[in-house]
Structures are given as structure tokens and as C-alpha cells.
Subunit: 205 residues, 2 copies
DNA sequence: GTCTATAAGCCGATAGAC
DNA sequence: GTCTATCGGCTTATAGAC
């Protein structure tokens, strides 16, 4: 009562977020989350009906902040559309060099829970990626790209591919490679007027 | 003694492979693997010193067959280089429609064991992906592509991205999208002589 | 090389007091 | 809403017989 219930709930989610992202879902016990949050397991089960419920809350809490970060990286990168798209990958490569970086929490959770396709956490992850893809599509269409839907899907594939590959090899330079590919595809999809010289698709050869 | 020890070992790996790929690493107990192989846990521990050892053997057994499959898909697709590259993705999309498909075992294991970067299974997964990338690079260079190393990395990113995205959304059409992107990038990287009309990079607009 | 039996501990979840 | 205490089951791994 000294603290409203929502604060306790958010403290639990914060603790769960650190542990689940760092160590995975199955490796982290409910006891460990409760200890990290500074309360007992019984209290945790007062706020969440099950561990699955807690896992879903962990990903739901990452949804909006994650999207906001991508949008900020896009907005803050100067230049044309290909530059701004590549800017997302450059910023991601920078964050991937942090020692605590362990890939994409949404993708890692879906990989770990692949045998539970209906799990609420997977639905939240799928919705998150759809929101990102949709934001890309709308952004591309607003800039006059004909098939913005296709380009958005291609960029998403490169982004999630770089999450997976960089996690495996621990080599963030793959994100810069993905950024170059994203730049090439974006450049090629731009309306034909005033094509930039020295575009990435030319630089390749 | 009725059966050589290697047969027992291979039967254990076969059982482990089915269970680990289907349900993940942490979700599958050593008991379950032993039961599936039709022997006791004590016998399993006679052939493998630990569960980690068994996980590594599971991925090692998938290495060569998996590479051979990609090479076969490439070889059996008719047409030019962009067609053959896209053929890999088309075949992958077809296999992803099988109900038992659960993404890439190497990537899923590395996602689940992300907090153990030195785990032997992760090293095997990283080596597997490097072999695939290297085969792509050599293939591209043999066909006169200037920066075969860059294109190989880009194709790898699209392939692993499609593994991750299709696993999350359960929508194999993303693999066809990745195949189109791979075709575009391959086409753009080809030596300039005799550019095919109606290439994918043109079809986009 | 394969078996039965068990150690020693951790798991998610719950009972009941306050 | 938070606590102490605990249930029943599952976990990896090992001891020792044959």
C-alpha cells in the first residue's frame, strides 16, 4: 500500500525483461524474476496468473519503445530515402556492439517457443513485426514508391536476418552489409526521376 | 553386442534430432531422448558425456545434409544465376509449408543458447553458416561476379531473415519475397554484358 | 554396453496467515 | 497485497549390478 499495485507490476516486468532478454525464457525461473524484483514468488503470482502471462507482458512492454527507436533512427538520419533506411541498420550495428546485446527479444522468444505457435507471447511478437513492416510501407508509399509493400517486406527480411546472423557470429558488420543491401533495394525502387549518381547498386561492381 | 556401438550412437542422435528440432533444447529432457531412442538414460550417458555434448552432436549431424540440400536446389534450378539463386528460396518455401517445419535448427539453437556464446553447439552452427556463405561466394566468383563476397553475405542475410520471419508469422510467402530480393541483388551484381530484359529489378515498378 | 535405482536439487504453482 | 512454507513433479547426472 506504500506503493500502488501498478508499480509493483512494473517492477516485476522490468526484472523479467532483463532476465528473459539476457538468458532466454526457459532458462529463467519465476523464483529468479521474483528475487530480481525484490519480492517473493507468491506476490508475483498475485500480479500474473502464470509464467506464460509474464512472458507475454515482457514482450508487450518492449513493443512501443522498440518501434519508437526505429522511427527515431530513421528520422534522425540525414539524406534521401536510401540513406535514411540504411541509417536504421547503422544505428542497429552500433547498439549490437554493446556487450549485453543478444539479438531481437521477439525473434528469440518465437524461436524458443516454436513448438507453441499459439502462445500469447508469439502473437505479440508477430503483431510487433507487422507494425514495423506497416510503418515502413506507409513511409515508402508517402515518398512515392510504387510497390511499397514489397520493399517493406524486403527491408524487414534484411533486418531480421541481420538480427539472426549477428547473434550467431557475434559480428555486427553483417548489419552494415544488410544496410547496404537495403539501400540498394530502396534506390532501385525509387521513382525514376533524378536518380542519384554513385548509387549503391552501381557501387557494387 | 548385437549392434555395434556406432549404431546405438546414431540412433540416439536421430531421436535427439527429432525432439530438439521439434521442441527446442531446454524443453526436451535427456529422459525423453532416451525413451525415443528405445533405451535407458544410463546408456545414453555412456555414449555422450553430457546433454550439451548431445546438443552439439545433433547440429553436427545436420551440417552436411543441410548444405547438400541447398546445393542440390541450386543445381536443379534451370536458368541463369539469378534464377538459380531464387530457386533456393522457392524450394525452401515449399519445405516450410510442411506442418513439421520449425525454422532453422542452427539459428533456433543459437537464439535459445544466446547466453552461452562459447557453447559447442553454437560454434557448430556458426561454422555451418560460414560454409554456406563460402559456397555462395565461390559460386558467384566462378561466374564472374566482381564482389562475390558481398553478394554472398546479402543472400545469407535474406535466407536467415526468411527463416526467422516465416517462423514468427507462419507465412512462407516471405520466402518468395526474399527470393525476389535475392534475384534483384544477384541481377544487379552480374557483369554488364547481355542484361536480361524483364529482370526482377525492373518488374518491381 | 545396457540395465535398475536413486541422488540432489530446481521447477511452476498453491495454501493459508496477516 | 505481501509474506512463509511447501507440494508434487521433473531435471541432469551417477552408483553399482550384470
Amino acid at each position: 500500500m506504500a506503493r500502488p499495485a501498478t508499480d509493483t507490476r512494473e517492477r516485476i516486468i522490468a526484472a523479467a525483461s532483463k532476465l528473459f532478454y539476457s538468458d532466454g525464457i526457459k532458462s529463467v525461473s519465476v523464483d529468479a524474476v521474483a528475487a530480481k524484483a525484490g519480492l517473493t514468488k507468491r506476490t508475483l503470482y498475485y500480479h500474473f496468473k502464470s509464467k506464460d502471462d509474464l512472458v507475454a507482458a515482457y514482450l508487450a512492454a518492449r513493443d512501443q519503445p522498440n518501434l519508437a527507436l526505429f522511427k527515431r533512427w530513421f528520422a534522425e538520419t540525414e539524406g534521401g530515402l536510401p540513406d535514411k533506411v540504411e541509417g536504421i541498420f547503422r544505428n542497429l550495428a552500433r547498439s549490437a556492439r554493446h556487450p549485453k546485446w543478444k539479438g531481437c527479444g521477439f525473434l528469440r522468444t518465437s524461436a524458443e517457443l516454436a513448438n507453441m505457435p499459439g502462445h500469447p507471447a508469439i502473437k505479440i511478437g508477430a503483431a510487433h513485426k507487422k507494425k514495423f513492416e506497416d510503418w515502413l510501407r506507409v513511409t515508402f508509399e508517402a515518398r512515392g514508391i510504387g510497390n511499397g509493400s514489397l520493399l517493406a517486406r524486403q527491408i524487414l527480411l534484411l533486418l531480421d536476418g541481420s538480427f539472426a546472423v549477428v547473434l550467431l557470429h557475434r559480428d555486427p558488420s553483417y548489419m552494415e552489409t544488410a544496410g547496404e543491401a537495403a539501400r540498394s533495394l530502396t534506390q532501385a525502387a525509387l521513382p525514376a526521376r533524378r536518380v542519384r549518381s554513385m548509387s549503391a547498386s552501381r557501387r557494387v561492381r
